[in-house]
Amino acid sequence: MRSTWDNAWIIAKRELRAYFATPLALVFLTVFVALTGALTFYVGQFFQRGQADLFPFFAYHPWLYLLLVPAVAMRLWAEERKSGTIELLMTLPITPFEAILGKFLAAWAFIGLALILTFPIWITVNLLGSPDNGVIFTSYLGSFLMAGAFLAIGSFVSTLTKNQVIAFIVASLICFLFTMSGLDLVQNSLRAWTPAFFSSAVSSLSFLTHFQRIVRGVLDLPTLIFFFSMIAFWLFATVIAIDQKKAQ
């Protein structure tokens, strides 16, 4: 019997090929790179700040992911259910987990590619000054991890409906809650009427809180554990949801 990774890899290869079978993937990559650039230079005032770092670049990633990651995730399972291929996939000699992992890894790799394609910004900042490339590398890694967590949520939501638009909106909403929970805005209103441990628990679930630590150059174990357990939890939820919903 072949291993889980072999099967997941076969699934992932097929998924990635499917992405590039239509121009949609290229559109997505273009939009991602263009938006990160625009946000960094215009909104983030990259030049005006006069600092050789990529802080304005990474600061917008959570907000960008809020829209773009659910767009990648929405088709993962909704499409399979709509076209009926899920019945084919689930009667092949693979486990649901292998299929879920394979699809997730393909989508994650795709977002990884989008991140890699933003390299001109890294070149730019290195030409203009001498940034701390260690921090930049850590930030890229953190951004990739955060995207994975968003994606796992999107994967779960995608199993609940055959409608990709609904999958997109619901996933965006859940991701939004996980991002927002660390903002002062939310924290202040929570602190007003809940015990301290609750508001700090909510804050500790926030993607933003963890990501901001990474962008400052701190990629420590708790943060790694946070993102990986987020991914594991939502993929596990996906397995259960697929088991319950696949035939409906």
């Binding site: 699934i11 290869k13 499917a18 079978a21 689930m90 009667t91 000699p93």
Partner: protein
């Protein structure tokens, strides 16, 4: 007889509706089982449970002796399945899709290639190997679904309406393919096309409202009709009364029915007392009275009628 497919007491309900209500069946090597039933009878649901896609509320399913829910990976390697509508990944080419399936089935390198070649040849897919599946005609899409299922030459094949929506030539091709493979496999095909049962199936199971209502060969099913073995004949209208009198008094005939009066002729049907009545005997009775007969044939009963009778008892008995 090696039993390759076995379902025991499968039950499934969706909310208040009992979709499958205690279906048990065995299919042996060499058998082609036709799974019949009106839409919504539970055909697809049963097949989904046998293939392990849908978990039954109770009961179990085994493929080649392996429980599909206890050891799904092992069981799933032993059958090929064409789900309803033969879904496939539309954005892929035929070749890429079959390669994907072959890889998942564990084939690599030269064997992968030869497996694909064989499946492509059997399903007649050579002309569309490098076309995107979404751009193919319905017939070719079906065949892609079929090729996918036979790629690993499994001992068990399960097909949900494999010829639905195909033109007569394509249907013929698919049936030939099934007949070719039948000898060393156990095959289940669901269908609502009754001629298919006569064409390819060695056995037919009719289900209605989630339960098995008939199980036997196509011939067995036909026997269930009142008209089975009846002799229909056409005589000139003015001799009809004489013909009816002659036939009614014959010992081999139970009764005579008038069927219709097309163009100055009268259509009669002689219902036999014994199953052994032949058309020659009827012809002899009429010849003795010098009644000319234009047409004479034995009714085999139509599977359509049997199907209606079995699955809609109220209406069926009214007709018969």
């Amino acid at each position: 007889m090696t039993v390759l497919i076995e379902a025991v007491g499968l039950h499934k309900r969706f909310g208040e509706i009992k979709a499958v209500d205690g279906i048990s069946l065995k299919v042996a090597k060499g058998e082609v089982l036709g799974f019949l039933g009106p839409n919504g009878a539970g055909k697809s649901t049963t097949m989904k449970m046998i293939t392990g896609f849908l978990e039954p509320d109770s009961g179990k399913a085994e493929i080649c002796g392996t429980d599909v829910f206890q050891e799904p990976k092992i069981a799933k390697a032993k059958f090929g399945y064409v789900p309803e509508g033969a879904p496939s990944y539309g954005e892929m080419t035929t070749r890429a899709f079959l390669s994907f399936i072959a890889e998942i089935r564990g084939f690599r390198g030269a064997e992968l290639k030869s497996r694909i070649d064989r499946a492509v040849e059997r399903a007649g897919l050579q002309p569309v190997l490098d076309q995107i599946i979404d751009t193919l005609s319905k017939g070719y899409k079906r065949r892609v679904g079929l090729a996918q299922a036979i790629l690993h030459d499994p001992p068990v094949l399960i097909m949900d309406e494999p010829t639905d929506g195909l033109d007569p030539n394509q249907k013929h091709h698919v049936r030939e393919l099934i007949t070719d493979m039948a000898a060393d496999k156990a095959i289940i095909i669901s269908t609502h096309i009754l001629e298919e049962v006569e064409a390819v199936c060695s056995r037919a199971v009719v289900i209605n409202k989630g339960m098995i209502v008939a199980d036997g060969t196509a011939e067995d099913l036909l026997q269930r009709m009142h008209y089975h073995g009846a002799v229909s004949l056409k005589v000139i209208a003015d001799r009809a009364d004489a013909a009816i009198r002659a036939l009614s008094s014959a010992s081999i005939v139970a009764r005579v029915e008038t069927v219709g009066k097309p163009n100055g002729h009268m259509l009669l049907r002689a219902i036999p007392r014994e199953k052994t009545m032949t058309s020659a005997e009827i012809a002899a009775v009429l010849r003795a009275q010098n009644i000319p007969v234009d047409e004479l044939y034995v009714e085999r009963g139509r599977l359509d009628d049997v199907f209606r009778k079995i699955t809609m008892p109220e209406e069926g008995s009214g007709n018969a």
